[in-house]
C-alpha cells in the first residue's frame, strides 16, 4: 500500500500556500465536463459539494436522511475554534496548531494540522457571510468562549446549537446550487459500495431507500464525507443512522483504514438510564466553563446518594472532591476530554459514582449561579439546561447535573494524504470520516472546524488538482455501462438477498446491542491485551452467528429500516474486529486510547514515541484473514514531543 503523505516541501507555515500555487488548475469552461460524487451532506460534504459546484463542476450529492440539512454535524452544540485572536489573549495560528497537536497527544500529522489552523480564520468569515448568527457582544463584534485543552478563548458559538447554524449555512449554499441545477441531490439514498475502474474510484452503488431500487452512479472522482463510526458501540452520542458502511466498503475495495482504535469518549453526557436506551445525549463541553465537576470523597457518601437517602446539595463542602481541579490545577474543569473521561471512570471504579447505576459524577452550577446570577447562566446555557431537564426531569438550576462519559467522536478514519486523497486514487475523504487532524484525541470545538476546513477550503482545491492531472480528455469517459458497475451491483444485490433469506430468530438491533457491549467493555475507556484478544474472538463468533441467525423482516422493494440496519450492523461487526486489532497492536497509551499495561504510577497515559510515533494503516486482505498493517511515520519538526501535562 502506497502511503506517500505528499506533504509539500518548505517551512510549515508556507506549505499550504506554496502547494496551492503548484496545483493543477482546470479551466472554468472545462469544469462543467467533470462530475464529482459527494457522499454525505454534513459540514464537510455539504460545504465541499456547494464549493465545487460554485466553481463549475457538476456534483451528485447523497445523503441517507430525507434532507441534507439533517446530517449529524447538526447536533454539535458548543462551538467552532478559529485562531482569530479577537480576544487579544495570545492566540495565533501557531498556537492553535500547537494546541491541536498536543491535544491529539502527538499522533496527528503536523502539516495537516497547521493547514487546519491557517484556514480556521477563513471559515468564520465564510460562515458569517453565509448568514450564521454567531453570538455577538453589545458592540456588534463576535463573542468567544473558552473550551477544553486551551488557555485562550477562541471558540465561536451560536447559542447551544452551533452545529445546526453552521450546517444551515452550508446547506443554504448547497441548496442554492441544487436550485441552479449544478448539484443533483439524492436524498434517502445510502451508498452500499464503491466502484473502481483501472484502480481509480469512478462511482458508487447506492440504494434508494424509498423505492428500494439499487442505482449506479458514475463520476470522475468520489468524495466520502460520511462521518464517524461511533455507533460500533451501539450506545453513543451519534445519530441513529450514523454508520461505517461507506468507509468500510471503500476499505474493502482497497482504501487503508487508519488508527481505528482512536475513539473519543466525551466526559459530559447524561448517564445511561436502562436497557431500553437507544442513544446517549451529550451535554456540551462548554458547560465546564462554569460547572464544577465533583464526586463524593467517600464511597459511603456516594452509596447514600445512590440509595436516595442523601441529596447532592446536602453534601457538605469538605465531603466533595472536585477531582479535576485537584488533579489538574492549571486547566481544572477544562482538562481535555480523554483525561476528564478517564478521571470520571476512576472515581466510579472507586465506588464513588452517583446515579442509580453508580456510573455518574456531578457537574455543579451552584457556585456559578451564586457568582454570576441565574440570568447570566441561563443566557449561556439555557437550552442545554432545558434539554437536560426534559431528559432527566431534574432542574440543573436547583440540583447538580449528573454526567458520565460516552462515545462521541472517532479520530480514526480512512487514511488520506495531504490532499485528503485516500490510498485509492480519485477517492477523497473529508471530515470525521478521515483520520488526519486530531491524532489520538480531538479538542472540543475542533470537529466543526475540521469539517468546514476540508469542505470549504481543502477539497475544492485538491479535487480540482486531481481532475486537472487526469486531463480533460478523461472527463466523463466512464459511464455506468462499464462492466465494473454491473459486477459491483450484483454483489450488492446478492448481499441484500442473503439478508432477506437467512430467516433466523434474532433482530439486527439485538446483534448491534451485543456487539456494542463487547466493544464498550473491552475497547472503551480502558483496554488490555487480554480483553482485546477476547473481544476479537467474541466479535468473530458474533459475526458468524449473525450470518446464520439474523432475522430481517420485510422486503427489498421499498422502505425497510430493518434491512438498512442489517447492512450497517454487518459492516460494524467486521469493523469492530479491526478496531480491536488496532488497539491490540498499539502497545502504548495515547489520547483516547488507554492501555492499562501502559500507564504511569499516577495512572496517566504513557506514550511510547520510539516505537509508536506512526499512523497505523490497515489493508484489507480477505474475509477472516488478518489484515496487513502498514505504517506512516510521524515526523515532528515544529512541535517538540513532550509528555502532555495539564497540571
Amino acid at each position: 500500500m502506497n502511503l506517500d503523505s505528499k506533504i509539500p516541501e518548505g517551512p510549515i507555515a508556507e506549505k499550504w500556500s506554496s502547494h496551492k500555487f503548484n496545483m493543477k488548475l482546470v479551466n472554468p469552461a472545462n469544469r462543467r465536463k467533470y462530475t464529482v460524487i459527494v457522499v454525505g451532506s454534513g459540514l464537510a460534504g455539504g460545504a465541499a459539494a456547494a464549493s465545487l459546484a460554485e466553481q463549475g463542476y457538476n456534483v451528485s450529492c447523497f445523503c441517507y436522511q430525507d434532507s441534507p440539512r439533517r446530517a449529524h454535524s447538526i447536533a454539535a452544540q458548543g462551538g467552532i475554534n478559529a485562531a482569530k485572536n479577537y480576544q487579544n489573549d495570545g492566540d495565533s495560528v501557531h498556537r492553535l496548531f500547537y494546541d491541536t497537536v498536543k491535544g491529539g497527544d502527538y499522533r496527528a500529522r503536523e502539516a495537516n494540522v497547521h493547514r487546519l489552523a491557517e484556514v480556521s480564520v477563513d471559515i468564520i468569515d465564510q460562515c458569517v457571510a453565509n448568514g450564521v448568527p454567531f453570538a455577538r457582544e453589545y458592540g456588534g463584534l463576535l463573542a468567544n468562549r473558552s473550551f477544553g485543552g486551551a488557555q485562550v478563548s477562541r471558540t465561536f458559538y451560536a447559542r447551544g446549537q452551533t452545529g445546526q447554524q453552521l450546517l444551515l449555512g452550508a446547506y443554504a449554499a448547497l441548496s442554492k446550487q441544487i436550485g441552479l441545477g449544478k448539484i443533483k441531490m439524492h436524498n434517502r439514498h445510502e451508498m452500499l459500495d464503491l466502484v473502481k475502474v483501472d484502480g481509480h474510484a469512478k462511482g458508487i452503488i447506492a440504494r434508494n431507500m424509498v423505492t428500494g431500487e439499487i442505482t449506479r452512479h458514475a463520476a470522475d472522482c468520489v468524495v466520502l464525507a460520511t462521518g464517524g463510526y461511533g455507533n460500533v458501540f451501539f450506545l453513543s452520542t451519534n445519530a441513529q443512522g450514523c454508520n461505517v458502511t461507506a468507509t468500510y466498503r471503500a476499505h474493502k475495495r482497497g482504501a487503508g483504514f487508519a488508527n481505528p482504535c482512536y475513539t473519543q469518549i466525551h466526559p459530559t453526557c447524561i448517564p445511561v438510564h436502562g436497557e431500553q436506551q437507544s442513544k446517549l445525549t451529550l451535554m456540551s463541553e462548554s458547560l465546564r466553563n462554569d460547572g464544577r465537576v465533583w464526586a463524593p470523597k467517600s464511597a459511603d457518601t456516594a452509596k447514600l446518594i445512590r440509595e436516595g437517602q442523601l441529596q447532592a446539595n446536602d453534601v457538605p463542602e469538605v465531603e466533595r472532591d472536585y477531582y479535576l481541579e485537584r488533579k489538574y490545577p492549571s486547566f481544572g474543569n477544562l482538562a481535555p476530554r480523554d483525561i476528564s473521561s478517564r478521571s470520571a471512570k476512576e472515581v466510579c471504579d472507586e465506588g464513588r459514582g452517583i446515579a442509580s447505576t453508580g456510573l455518574g459524577v456531578y457537574l455543579d452550577f451552584r457556585d456559578a449561579i451564586e457568582r454570576d446570577g441565574k440570568q447570566a447562566i441561563q443566557e449561556r446555557y439555557g437550552n442545554l439546561f432545558e434539554m437536560y431537564n426534559r431528559i432527566t426531569a431534574d432542574d440543573p438550576y436547583q440540583v447538580p447535573m449528573m454526567i458520565f462519559p460516552a462515545v462521541h467522536y472517532t479520530m480514526g478514519g480512512l487514511w488520506v494524504d495531504y490532499n485528503l486523497q485516500s490510498s485509492i486514487p480519485g477517492m477523497f475523504v473529508g471530515g470525521e470520516a478521515n483520520f488526519s487532524d486530531h491524532g489520538a484525541n480531538r479538542l472540543g470545538a475542533s470537529a466543526l472546524m475540521q469539517g468546514l476546513a476540508d469542505g470549504y477550503f481543502v477539497l475544492p482545491y485538491t479535487v480540482g488538482n486531481y481532475l486537472g492531472e487526469q486531463g480533460v480528455a478523461a472527463a466523463g469517459q466512464i459511464t455506468t455501462d462499464h462492466k465494473n458497475f454491473s459486477e459491483v451491483e450484483s454483489e450488492v444485490k446478492a448481499r441484500i438477498d442473503k439478508f432477506l433469506t437467512i430467516n433466523g430468530t434474532e433482530s439486527p438491533r439485538s446483534f448491534h446491542k451485543r456487539l456494542g457491549h463487547i466493544i464498550w467493555e473491552q475497547c472503551g475507556m480502558a483496554r488490555s491485551k487480554e480483553g482485546l484478544e477476547k473481544a476479537i474472538r467474541d466479535v468473530q463468533a458474533l459475526r458468524k452467528e449473525f450470518w446464520e441467525n439474523v432475522r430481517v423482516v420485510g422486503d427489498a422493494d421499498g422502505p425497510n429500516p430493518e434491512l438498512e440496519r442489517a447492512g450497517r450492523v454487518a459492516d460494524f461487526l467486521e469493523f469492530g474486529e479491526l478496531m480491536c486489532r488496532d488497539a491490540l497492536m498499539r502497545e502504548e497509551s495515547c489520547g483516547g486510547h488507554f492501555r492499562v499495561e501502559h500507564q504511569t504510577e499516577e495512572g496517566e497515559a504513557k506514550r511510547d514515541d520510539d516505537a509508536f510515533a506512526f499512523v497505523g494503516v490497515w489493508e484489507y486482505i480477505g474475509d477472516f484473514v488478518e489484515p496487513a498493517l502498514h505504517k506512516e511515520s510521524l515526523i515532528y519538526d515544529n512541535v517538540k514531543l513532550a509528555t502532555r501535562s495539564y497540571k
Binding site: R69, G140, L142, T281
Partner: protein, 257 residues
C-alpha cells in the same frame, strides 16, 4: 428501580404511498418511564420483529431534538403533548400505565405518506432552494468583524434560525400552511446585514415556491407556534408579511427578480 408501564398503541399503518392506510392496535408491555417516545417505538419494533411482522416505519435520526427528522402526531398533537419538545425528546414519564396512545404521520397534502409514519417533506427543501440562502461564494467573504451586527439583531436572527425544519407547523395548521417555516427562514436571512442585498428576491421567490408546493394560506390560527418544538414565534409571520409587502411594491415599480 425503574418504573414501567403497559400501553395500548393505535398506530397508522400504510404500506406504500398509494395504498389505503389504517390504524392497527398493539399492546406493549414493560415500557420504562425513563425511555423516550422513540425508544418506546423501538421496543414495539422488536416486539413486531419477534413475531415476524414488519415494524412501524418512522423517521428519526439525532434523537436529541435538533435534526428535525422525527415527525409523528401523538394523540392528535404533532410531537406530542409536551411544549417545546420533539418526539425524540418526549419521555414516557408523561404517559400513564394503561393509556391508549394514537400515533399518526404528519397530516398535510403537500407531505404525502411514504410508509406508515414516514412522510415526504421535500417541499421544504425546494422552498430553500428557491431563495433561502445568502449568495456568498466560498472564499469571497470579508473579515467576520468587518460588519458589526448589534447583539439585538444577532439574537433576533438566531431566534428565527432556531427552526429545525421538522414540519410540525404544517401538520398542526388546519390549512396545512407553511408560513411559520417560510417566515422563520426568510426572517433569519432578511434580518442580517449580509442578507439585505437579496432580501426582496428571496422573499418573493420563497413565498412563490411555498404557494406552488400546495401549502394552504395563513389565517392566524396560531397552532403552528404552539406545536413548534423550538417555539418559533408567530411574530416571524408578521415580519414575513411586512417584507413581502415591501418586496411586492418594489417589484411592481421595478422588477426585483
Amino acid at each position: 428501580m425503574e418504573k414501567t408501564m403497559n400501553l395500548i398503541l393505535k398506530v397508522w399503518r400504510q404500506r406504500r404511498r398509494d395504498d389505503v392506510g389504517q390504524f392497527h392496535m398493539y399492546e406493549l408491555q414493560n415500557v420504562s418511564e425513563d425511555s423516550s417516545f422513540l425508544e418506546m417505538m423501538d421496543s414495539l419494533s422488536e416486539e413486531l420483529v419477534s413475531r415476524g411482522e414488519e415494524p412501524v416505519a418512522f423517521d428519526h435520526d439525532c434523537r436529541e431534538g435538533i435534526c428535525g427528522m422525527c415527525s409523528m402526531t401523538i394523540n392528535g398533537v404533532p410531537h406530542g403533548p409536551e411544549r417545546a419538545t420533539t418526539a425524540c425528546q418526549l419521555h414516557m414519564r408523561h404517559f400513564n400505565d394503561g393509556q391508549i396512545i394514537t400515533i399518526e404521520p404528519w397530516r398535510a397534502k403537500p407531505f404525502p405518506v411514504i410508509k406508515d409514519l414516514v412522510v415526504d417533506r421535500s417541499p421544504f427543501d425546494r422552498i430553500i432552494q428557491s431563495g433561502g440562502f445568502i449568495t456568498a461564494r466560498t472564499g469571497s467573504a470579508v473579515d467576520a468583524n468587518e460588519i458589526p451586527i448589534s447583539k439585538q439583531t444577532a439574537d433576533f436572527a438566531m431566534d428565527a434560525a432556531a427552526c429545525i425544519g421538522c414540519g410540525a407547523c404544517v401538520a398542526a395548521c388546519p390549512n396545512a400552511s407553511a408560513m411559520l417555516f417560510t417566515a422563520a427562514k426568510v426572517t433569519h436571512m432578511n434580518s442580517l446585514p449580509q442578507g439585505k442585498a437579496e432580501q426582496d428576491r428571496r422573499t418573493l421567490a420563497m413565498v412563490t415556491t411555498m404557494d406552488r408546493e400546495g401549502f394552504g394560506g395563513c389565517t392566524n390560527v396560531g397552532e403552528c407556534e404552539a406545536a413548534c418544538p423550538k417555539v418559533i414565534s408567530l411574530d416571524m409571520i408578521a415580519h414575513l408579511n411586512r417584507d413581502y409587502l415591501s418586496a411586492q411594491t418594489k417589484n411592481f415599480l421595478k422588477p426585483v427578480q
